[in-house]
């Protein structure tokens, strides 16, 4: 989707708000909102690509103006409701209750397995690499152009690289394809490549800073051989 989250190259946002000695959490609720991603993930609410797509569906004005971890809360709520596990009316009612009684305790429950899951997932991770017998259509050194299309739904095809031509500099193997998984359609692995774009290719000679490149990772369906070239590994 052509969403507000796709920020690369947007002008007019002002200076980077660097906070000296920034704490990990700016409020207690941020801890819980952060903690909230792993458990609905385990419960099968979403994978990481769907999680991102949930955030992308926030209202654009709210996306830009809300504190970061509210985005995470939004994703948990979005998929919880979609899965039928969370009832919107119940959420509103309890929110009113905790607004009036901010110190009211949470229900208590213990679950050693969940604790074990948290420890295990942090150290082992949740790899996105997937086996596939698909042959790579491109190789390091190939000149490629990003297809200039605007799909609906989740994609990692940022607007600022669409239609741009660069060089494949790394080939990573096959990974979950976000344009499928993020839209609830399964892993559908595709080859991932890092493509290097010159600043002037992205921003034009007049605006581009000198002597610089942007490296952007693409899945194979995002790219075609640049005009006048062939995919070399084919």
């Amino acid at each position: 989707m052509n969403g507000v989250h796709d920020l690369g190259g947007t002008d007019g946002l002002g200076p980077v708000p660097v906070e000296k000695d920034e704490p990990i959490w700016h409020a207690d609720w941020e801890r819980a909102a952060f903690g909230m991603f792993s458990m609905p993930f385990r419960a099968g609410f979403f994978g990481v690509d769907q999680f991102r797509y949930g955030i992308e569906q926030m209202h654009p004005a709210v996306y830009l103006l809300s504190p970061y971890y509210e985005h995470w809360m939004h994703a948990a709520e979005h998929y919880g409701v979609e899965k039928g596990v969370l009832d919107p009316a119940d959420i509103e009612e309890r929110t009113r209750y905790y607004l009036e009684n901010p110190d009211a305790p949470l229900p208590q429950r213990s679950d050693p397995e969940l604790l074990e899951f948290v420890n295990a997932v942090v150290s082992a991770g949740a790899p996105a690499g997937r086996e596939s017998d698909k042959k790579a259509a491109f190789a390091v050194g190939d000149r490629v152009t990003v297809i200039d299309s605007s799909p609906y739904g989740h994609t990692r095809r940022a607007r600022y690289i669409r239609g741009r031509t660069g060089e494949v500099v790394l080939a990573h193997g096959t990974f979950i394809y976000p344009d499928s998984a993020g839209n609830g359609h399964g892993d559908a692995p595709e080859h991932v490549y890092t493509v290097r774009f010159t600043n002037s290719e992205l921003w034009g000679d007049e605006a581009a800073e000198p002597n610089g490149f942007v490296y952007f990772d693409v899945w194979e369906p995002y790219i075609v051989p640049a005009a006048g070239t062939e995919g070399s590994a084919a």
Binding site: G8, L13, R96, L114
Partner: protein
């Protein structure tokens, strides 16, 4: 895309967000999806165990052990694992080296991807719209005006937009005047921003 009218935006107050988070927590606890002890454990990991001190240890080892450095640059994930470092949001790490003529900096323009196992959780500015919008378009200006890092035009600037699950991070340059320092002491001078690429390691 959809015929459902979009709700007009409401920007919630901190109190409203806190109450809503608590409401969701309460329901998920009752539904057996979540526990407060698991939240406490998860947050404790990123408060006390996983943070930029781990990346700093990797950098210091790379500065003092050329073979380790070579392995690190060719296999970031596997080589960090030698030190017991890796996991969530660092399943596939690529380490890029700053040199006299090349300066690397990382971003995620589409969300907030960041190499957690070596840097911990990202600062707010890394996840905010300003940095994500500007660092790909005017990296020299952002580094100079917002981070006080003025790079001459002769230094090539490479911006890595973490659009896939590959997690890039920067092996900063070892500063002058550190020849006699131990690996441990070197780890102590490596900053988080130097591994993002918005800073350099200052000479001690």
């Amino acid at each position: 895309m959809s015929s459902t009218p979009i709700q007009p935006p409401s920007i919630r107050t901190q109190e409203e967000i806190a109450a809503r988070v608590k409401a969701l927590e309460a329901i998920m606890i009752e539904k057996g999806i979540m526990t407060t002890e698991a939240v406490d454990r998860l947050t404790e990991i990123y408060e006390k165990e996983v943070g930029p001190q781990l990346g700093a240890a990797v950098v210091a080892k790379a500065w003092t052990d050329p073979e380790f450095k070579e392995r690190l640059l060719s296999d970031g994930t596997g080589t960090c694992r030698e030190l017991g470092i890796g996991g969530l949001q660092g399943e596939d790490m690529v380490v890029v080296e700053n040199t006299e003529t090349v300066h690397n900096v990382i971003v995620c323009t589409l969300c907030s991807c960041y190499p957690w196992p070596v840097l911990g959780l990202p600062p707010n500015w890394y996840k905010g719209p300003e940095y994500r919008a500007r660092i790909v378009r005017e990296p020299r200006k952002v580094l100079r005006d917002d981070f006080g890092l003025d790079l001459p035009d002769s230094v090539e600037v490479r911006v890595w937009d973490s659009s896939s699950e590959m997690r890039y991070w920067v092996l900063p340059r070892r500063p002058e005047g550190t020849d006699g320092m131990s690996e441990r002491a070197l780890a102590g001078i490596v900053t988080r921003d130097s591994m993002i690429g918005t800073g350099v390691v200052p000479a001690p």
